[in-house]
């Protein structure tokens, strides 16, 4: 048990516990914050895997963008309060969902970690980000451009859906 192991366990525990709170807590704003903490933990995991660029990208995309979007959505829907204030947070199939989850977890844990992977010990190239850039306009040029189109589609679609028409209905000033 070295220091690295302990750090890994700490971050794994943070990630998993806050993920658990995220899916179970009643207050949606708290759930969003737990999600942020959990995604932080994932970023730390990336950093431990020497994926420096991805760790920072994870922080920017998830903590900076997706988390803000989710918190905005929570606030715009008034915490999902709906008409009934004290509504159940889980649906009627919650029990079934738990069974499915446990079965999936059981299968995954039985199968995935104990396969004998051809682990290769090598240092990460120092110019990995540069290689990534070259790959994006080399091998991955098609997905790269398709990603751009996907982003365009998401932008236009989301603006079209989310925008309020000028003669909006019961929109309070805010």
């Amino acid at each position: 048990m070295t220091l690295t192991h302990i750090i890994f366990i700490v971050f794994a525990a943070i990630t998993l516990l806050s993920a658990l709170f995220c899916v179970t807590t009643r207050n949606m704003f708290h759930a969003a914050l737990y999600l942020v903490i959990s995604l932080f933990g994932v970023a730390a995991t990336f950093a431990m895997l020497d994926a420096s660029f991805l760790a920072a990208a994870q922080l920017i995309v998830y903590v900076g963008a997706v988390a803000i979007l989710i918190i905005f959505a929570v606030m715009l829907t008034r915490g999902g309060a709906g008409s009934l204030p004290a509504k159940q947070q889980f649906n009627t199939q919650a029990g079934l969902a738990a069974v499915v989850t446990v079965v999936t977890l059981f299968i995954l844990l039985r199968v995935v970690p104990f396969f004998n992977y051809p682990v290769q010990v090598a240092a990460v190239p120092i110019d990995i980000v540069e290689q990534l850039g070259q790959a994006l306009v080399g091998d991955f040029v098609l997905p790269f451009e398709v990603a751009s189109v996907l982003l365009l589609a998401a932008l236009i679609g989301a603006i079209y859906i989310a925008r309020e028409r000028r003669k909006g209905e019961e929109v309070e000033e805010g």
Binding site: T4, H5, A12, L16, A19, C22, V23, M28, A32, S38, V42, T45, F46, M48, L49, D50, A51, F53, L54, A57, V61, V66, L69, I70, A73, V74, L76, T77, G80, Q88, Q89, F90, N91, Q93, L96, A97, A98, V100, T101, T104, L105, V112, P113, F114, Y117, V119, P125, I128, Q131, L132, A135, D139, F140, P143, A147, L150, A154, G157, A158, I161
Partner: protein, 103 residues
């Protein structure tokens, strides 16, 4: 490399299952979306861990993780826009009540 690969895979598997539970059991549509984000993150942990342990000199693993990141964000952008729109029209984002197409 002090930490075995399987540790990362276990963390990813558990995170994935927590995400599944969130997606299946939450009533709140935003909560369901959070579950999806957790699942996508679990996938990314797997991708990066496999990249690091199986082929660290090739960038494909990182590139894939990057594309997953994009798809996740695009999905969140559009999904949340839909939820906001539903809330505006119906005043409720309980996934069990969004069933206009069933009736």
């Amino acid at each position: 490399m002090a930490i075995p690969l399987s540790w990362y895979l276990i963390v990813a598997a558990v995170l994935f299952c927590i995400g599944i539970y969130g997606v299946l059991a939450r009533r709140n549509a935003v909560g369901i979306l959070m579950g999806v984000e957790l699942m996508l993150n679990a996938v990314n942990i797997n991708l990066v861990a496999f990249w690091r342990y199986l082929n660290p000199t090739d960038v494909s693993g990182q590139a894939f993780a990057l594309f997953v990141l994009v798809v996740a964000a695009a999905e969140a952008v559009v999904g949340l826009a839909l939820i906001i729109s539903v809330y505006r029209n119906r005043g409720d984002i309980d996934a069990e009540n969004i069933n206009l197409l069933k009736q």
